[in-house]
């Protein structure tokens, strides 16, 4: 366990994450799920709540939520039930939200976190994962005496991932969210783009004296939409509750919103109008049944998960942990690296190239690895040529950006442009002669004991060869000539 965040109280945090499933259509209708469309373009009778419109469950949404559940060690339930959560709001045209309540899609599971400065990895338990539909969007413009309603988001498939109240510091909450964010993206369940509201977090925060077993009164923080805000907001809430308890006061069960601009929370809802949602099974939807075979098929198709992959990269390729972290920033990058490593026959060199040069070149071209024009095999071939000395590292680095943006066959490009390493003494001597003749001052200062002049002259030779000269051979030959007095 970490050092306590507060000397007098133990901090108890549970998180609820609403995560948008990566589907093309809504949860109960074929209306498209898109982002940034003008209001009400992506609706259908079902998501408009028109009388008589009946919901039909999106099978792919079920699969995606099950993927996330299995990737976090959850038990996907053979039977789960959609219920109606009843409340009135203009962006909820049916007067109820369809959500799973008593019988969620998945129970249990965990997310492993590792907080810097903590006691090593630890597991945060999950209570459940359930599926539900999103509501529409109400637009309140202070200047206008009306509210505008956009139902494009109405019915968008979400999964809600509920943790146990097992986090003990804002940093642990942040680490949990980052790990969860990575997993849902890794298995393709969600794009989890926080700026588009695809990964939203509510935090339940309470304090209790150290050693106490009963939980203190909690407050709920809503509207947390960046990892940094979440940690800040929880820090602020811990401070607020501690001050309240210190002065003999009591924490009141309330819902607070987080105002990121002001860096402080505001009360959204007190207990007196606590919710009464009158959940009941939706008569329009038959319970969802998943066979053991269906669940196992989803489990089998899961990719190797980030933690397992990192451990394997470290062990199988002998790579340092920080480099592995870079190479596994996304599943696409990790896949790309492995294919490069295999094609190059030199995994550690491939790791250096992919972590540094490939990443830099892609950034320069404003692309991510999925948009690389080069196949990982061709990058592997290029690295293999550098490793075997057929081309110099300089030539390799020069070719790399072009391969990544234009594609092409590195063998053919090397042949076509005559990039094979020149190590023939005769040819190298010609460039060396020229360099020595052109820079008598450098030759003289070398003779006077300034050995750094060798590097300068090396540079001249390499430039004259357009990077093709075998640098090891050049250095040897150049040193011999200079030590012999530099005579041409």
């Amino acid at each position: 366990m970490n050092a306590p965040t507060h000397p007098d109280y133990e901090v108890v945090i549970g998180l609820e994450v609403h995560c948008q499933l990566r589907t093309r259509t809504k949860l109960f209708t074929g209306a498209p799920v898109r982002f940034g469309e003008p209001p009400n373009q992506d609706t259908s009778p079902v998501c408009l709540g028109l009388p008589g419109a009946l919901p039909v469950l999106n099978g792919y949404a079920v699969e995606l939520a099950a993927r996330a559940a299995l990737a976090t060690g959850g038990e996907v339930q053979p039977d789960s039930v959609f219920a109606r959560k009843n409340y009135f709001y203009p962006d909820l045209p049916k007067g109820y939200q369809i959500s799973q309540f008593e019988h969620p899609l998945s129970l249990g599971g965990y997310v492993e976190i590792d907080v810097a400065g903590g006691d090593g990895p630890r597991r945060i338990g999950l209570t459940r994962i359930h599926m539900e539909e999103d509501a529409g969007k109400s637009i309140h413009d202070g200047a206008v005496e009306e509210t505008h309603v956009d139902l494009n988001r109405s019915g968008v498939p979400l999964m809600e991932i509920v943790s146990e109240p097992e986090m003990r510091s804002p940093e642990e909450a942040g680490a949990y969210l980052r790990a969860l964010h990575e997993i849902v993206r890794w298995v393709g369940a969600s794009d989890a783009d926080m700026e588009k509201g695809q990964f939203r977090c509510d935090a339940n925060v309470s304090l209790r004296p150290h050693g106490a077993t009963a939980l203190g009164t909690r407050t709920e923080l809503k509207n947390l939409n960046s990892f940094r805000y979440i940690e800040e907001a929880i820090h602020a809430e811990v401070k607020r509750q501690a001050a309240l308890l210190d002065s003999g006061g009591e924490v009141v069960q309330e819902t607070w919103g987080w105002d990121a601009d002001a860096g402080r929370a505001f009360v959204m809802r007190g207990k007196e109008n606590a919710d009464d949602y009158r959940y009941f099974p939706d008569p329009d939807l038959i319970p969802l049944t998943l066979s053991e075979e269906a669940i196992e098929a989803i489990r089998t198709a899961l990719p190797e998960l980030p933690g397992a992959r990192r451990a394997r990269f470290e062990q199988a390729y002998g790579l340092p942990a920080d480099q592995v972290q870079v190479l596994t920033a996304s599943r696409e990058l990790a896949d790309f690296f492995e294919a490069v490593a295999e094609a190059s026959g030199a995994a550690r060199a491939a790791a250096n190239w992919v972590a540094r040069d490939v990443q830099a070149a892609l950034r320069e071209a404003d692309r991510d690895v999925a948009q690389s024009a080069a196949t990982p095999q061709s990058i592997g071939v290029l690295i293999g040529m550098v490793e075997s000395g057929r081309i110099t590292a300089k030539s390799g680095r020069d070719l790399l950006p072009e391969l990544l943006t234009e594609g092409g066959d590195p063998e053919a490009l090397v042949a076509e442009r005559g990039l094979e390493t020149v190590s023939d003494a005769g040819e190298l001597e010609r460039w060396i002669d020229d360099a020595l003749a052109a820079h008598p001052k450098a030759v003289a200062s070398y003779a006077d004991g300034d050995k750094k002049s060798l590097n300068f002259l090396m540079g001249q030779v390499m430039r004259a060869s357009q990077g093709k000269a075998d640098p090891g051979r050049v250095r040897t030959l150049l040193a011999e000539r200079l030590d012999a007095g530099g005579a041409a």
């Binding site: 074929g30 009400n40 099978g59 792919y60 203009p90």
Partner: protein
């Protein structure tokens, strides 16, 4: 079945967004009570050992492919609305009570 209190009736009315006069509340309270009594008969059935069921239909949920289909014309929908602002529905201003 214990009798519904006037507070229960008012609470249910508030959840249903209904404003009731006291006469209406009393009449509806009687009706509600009669309905609950009627449903209460189900309690006479011995359900010991019978798992709760959410649905009586003995077939599986049909699942839909994740394929977009064109649906209702947005303009036709907006034409039904009492008021609009661009392509948004315009409703009386919501004073926050989510």
């Amino acid at each position: 079945m214990s009798k519904l209190s006037p507070e229960d009736v008012r609470h249910v009315a508030r959840l249903a967004a209904l404003r009731l006069s006291s006469d209406e509340a009393e009449a509806l309270g009687r009706d509600l009570h009669a309905i609950l009594d009627y449903v209460e008969q189900l309690a006479e059935v011995d359900t010991e050992g019978v798992p709760p069921t959410a649905h009586a239909i003995p077939f599986e949920t049909p699942l839909r492919q994740d394929t977009p289909v064109s649906s209702i014309d947005p303009e036709e929908v907006l034409a039904q609305a009492p008021a609009r602002a661009g392509t948004a529905f315009a409703v009386p201003k919501v004073l926050d009570e989510a």
